[in-house]
Symmetry: D2
Subunit: 276 residues, 4 copies
């Protein structure tokens, strides 16, 4: 059996030795290991791929040897459970659905929830449940409550905002704290806010991009997981940039979900640690 | 109305002036123009975006002014008609279907023909006809004949081989001469032939790629339309490379179809001219 | 003989036909042509590579046929004359000097002017005059006057700011209006101002970049000529990003000078048109 | 003090635990660690960044705990010593010299040896000794002997072939076994041999590249260290590709020397392990 052990704690001397020793004692063979120490923040992060059969008390012993407050998790080969939120645009949503169909991502898309009915045929074509919850006639709090209740009923590990064009209430963000991944259609922190491709066109940039990030209460300010870019020229209108940008958005959003599903992403205050 | 005029002929002095003059006389306004002269081969290629209303005799007059044998075509805003051939792999096929669904490509996928039934649900989910023609019990000539007859019945502009894992007979290639676009899973001319990712792994390269090309009678030797690459490392197995490569294949295949549908690709002997 | 004709004027119908016709009448053969119409701004830009021997009145006739106010220039094969301004950092300056030595750029570096003496050995090793004008004891106006007088004595086409770490006075900018190219060590408009790599580190971005732009009176707001980026990770400190960034800065700065020297860059209000 | 420990041996269970334990016992703090197991070849590779003060017997104890035949090395902060071989082309040679001048590489260039005198001014401008050993009138064996004796007198860690346009004799290769890094002007294994840019032009590829590799007895077949690529088009002649390629060659060659100087490159049979 293959396992992934993730460890996150206050930094201390000898942490790698302690963890790898305990693995050795439990005859868990390390096939891949990544670690990072944030020296300024005094935080230690480690991701360890293991083969073997961990006994019941492995994690208990490990926690005893680590600084108090350590977060230690052992993942088997189960897929990461994802609910996607969408509005009307197909590219990010379809990109992830197609990747799941290709078996290219270690995720299971449990459902799609959207505030418009448009994307139902696409989603249902992939055999995934589609829930349409209109925002019309509802306050933001009411709509977020309805969407949140439905999302929660699926018990997802990750909520992916596949171009969900609504600003989430702080209550919604808090409810799924550190589990919401958004795709923003600019190379953050450039062009925060609305209509980034129009902003990019007006500024005359030669490269545009997209950013996947965790959502927190400040718009477009959450920890960045992945970014990518593409060249543009003076001949590209804002509309052309938007069209080119959709490819980047799709790529970056899928990449962020893939990284999260492989347990390679750790939140470190307002940043991420992303192991390769 | 918007039009695209493509011109291809033996090179001569003053060709641009002749063509642009005639456009001016016919009150066709040039909004974008690209041209290329292959000085060694003495060939002239031009692609002109126009607005206006071309009269019936515009093309006739144009041909009279150009060297004999000139190929001149005026395209309106109609979509490029495509039939896709597939086997079992979903990524290139699904990539194009999704792009069509997003309205990101100026193509209309008329049908998919496959030698296995596996991809029917994917294709039919997008509302596209799926034809399964097994190769079992048929000679290559018989199978190619059956597939070719079906393809021809759709009168496509382009036949896209979306990971169609069969070698086409010279008869099939000749039947759809200069209209078949293949995606090869290597950065040609490296790793021609079978199992390119295994070859790449064995050689220890640090970059892998994919190549879209027109198909001619020599395996993997047709004119190249588009290529792209991605970084790999010692830690990537041949299987991991294949997985990473599928993303590149999907991107490059869609790119080649997009370029062809925008009338930006010209065949120039064993190479292409691809306007940006 | 090879020539490059650049045309810039108010847009009108038939401009390409007029220009290419006149070339044909003067037996100037067009080997490459690029044009762009800014439809919102109603501006026409064209760059034409020619072979032949233009007669004296070619440009006069051309101007008569174009809308009033047209800027028309014919460039022969002479090199673009450049004066570089520097401070203490070697990478952008050395990058351009090396490229000149390799004969990879169509430029002639007339001199380097710096406000520190540190880079004299590097510059003089390439046989280029080095002028040290300390800013100590001088007001900004006095220093800019002294530097400007020296620069002007060389009659350069382009002034390249090769990591010149001083803010230029509006008088200096006006004196060399539209001829000053700066390299900024961020992917503008992200991280405008001081210490962009520290800003990038604090924000936790996954890609950093550099931007070459014309200088106007607003800091880091001039028309962008070229940009490029590179991937970074959580493990890269601000210092590591700065080091990686220097490679991008060097590349982008050389690219901008190359484009300018090939007469491929036009200023279009607060943006550029850059032909490929 | 900072150290880099490199370990290479037959794979076994518990190796990471053994090594990190011993570090802990010797109060060596691990600040960064990379390891890789080639499961097919049963080889273990590890690179460990340490702070602390290793005692005399640390390496002795380490070797005792590892499988027999283990290669273990502790590097302090000393620079990697490099001798560069060149012919007439300046770009790779100048690129490395400039990088050393910028203090961007952890290398010390001891000398340049060339079979032409042309590059002496460039090299001496950077204060580096230049030795001209003409191949005229000498057999290959004689010339290689003369060059090899001179190179050996400098006791370099790495011999960099900065576009050294001569085929090395097996004797020379054996003499500096696993220490010679070459830059090849193609994206290997495409276009092995002479005139790769002409080959690339003839084939009509859309991307060209360069490859840095260790030299062994088979031409262009040594273990690959780094590769990079750039887009080209139909409009690029073989000469234009060569010019664009020189930038990639320079970048890749510098990258390979940087990786080697940071002790991140291990030879694994006919491939490399390159830690990031």
């Amino acid at each position: 059996m293959n396992y992934i052990l993730t460890t996150e704690c206050t930094d201390d001397v000898g942490l790698i030795a302690k963890i790898t020793n305990l693995c050795f004692e439990h005859t868990l063979n390390i096939t891949r290991n990544n670690e990072f120490v944030d020296t300024a923040g005094q935080r230690f992060f480690m991701r360890t791929e293991l083969t073997g059969q961990p006994s019941d008390n492995f994690l208990t012993q490990l926690r005893q040897q680590l600084p108090s407050g350590a977060k230690v998790t052992m993942h088997g080969e189960e897929k990461t459970k994802v609910v996607l939120l969408a509005t009307k645009e197909a590219h990010c949503l379809g990109g992830v659905l197609l990747k799941q169909f290709e078996q290219a991502l270690n995720i299971e898309i449990l459902a799609v929830v959207a505030n418009y009915p448009d994307l139902a045929p696409l989603v249902e074509g992939f055999g995934v449940p589609y829930h349409f919850i209109s925002h019309e006639g509802l306050s933001r709090a009411e709509h977020d409550k309805a969407v949140g209740d439905l999302v929660e009923s699926y018990k997802p590990d990750i909520i992916g905002l596949a171009k969900y064009m609504r600003i989430l209430s702080p209550e919604f963000v808090a409810r799924f704290n550190n589990r919401i991944i958004n795709i923003h259609h600019s190379f953050l922190p450039a062009f925060i806010g609305a209509k980034p491709y129009h902003q990019a066109f007006e500024r005359g940039v030669k490269i545009i991009g997209a950013t996947a990030h965790f959502v927190n209460d400040e718009l477009d300010e959450g920890p960045i997981i992945a970014q990518n870019v593409t060249q543009v020229s003076h001949a590209d209108t804002a509309q052309a940039m938007a069209k080119m940008g959709r490819d980047i958005e799709k790529t970056v959003f899928c990449k962020a979900l893939q990284l999260a599903s492989e347990h390679k992403v750790f939140i470190n205050d307002n940043k991420t640690v992303v192991f390769s």
